[in-house]
Amino acid sequence: MPATCQNEGRQLCWSLEGEIDHHRAQNISQALEREISLRLPQSLELDFSRVTFMDSSGIALVLRAHRLMSELGGSLTLKAVPRQAARVLRAAGLHRLIPMETR
């Protein structure tokens, strides 16, 4: 499993781990999408605390989560984003779109 998940009420916390690149992004994205359609959360928190690397594949992943949560009328937040991943997200301007807590 590329990611683990905990659920409290309509809040979904999804923990990402390891290196997020093109090789892994599709599996992670599909698993996350399944979880969202199963639980229909009002808020989704993507936890980056165990992410060791992320390239632009992560931008597509975050944008997809953002779109799915918008469709549900819910919110998305990014938690414990490491410096390297934060630089990638900022280069795409995502910090202006999605609340992001860095570590």
Partner: protein, 145 residues
Amino acid sequence: MKPINSAKIEFLSRSANEGFARSSVACFAAQLDPTLEELGDIKTAVSEAVTNAIVHGYPDQLGRVLIKLRLFPENLLEITVQDWGVGIPDIQQARQPMYTTGGEERSGMGFTIMESFMDNIRVRSTPGRGTVVIMRKKISLRTRP
């Protein structure tokens, strides 16, 4: 200009090699004593260039991807990522932020990341013959404690 040091890494365009490629380049760059941030920038830029070669260079087949690394005086690192795939018909369009032919899985930010994380980048491509991306970054000279 003659390089002080050089290396070549060649692999098949399988996505499993993306991690191998960026880690290998990071190992080579380690001799310049880069900061963690510089090392992260290099790994990210290499990941983007290699992913482009794998996804866009060889969309329907496997092919060779070659990384050439050259180290020049004053801590200048040059990274060349080359493929012999389908090539890019319009490089200017491909370099536009958010432009992608890769569908929802891709963000179209690959070239933008390479441009912002490296000092400069040159792209040469011929449709039907392949693509070469040459990136340069000067690593800050640090005084060791």
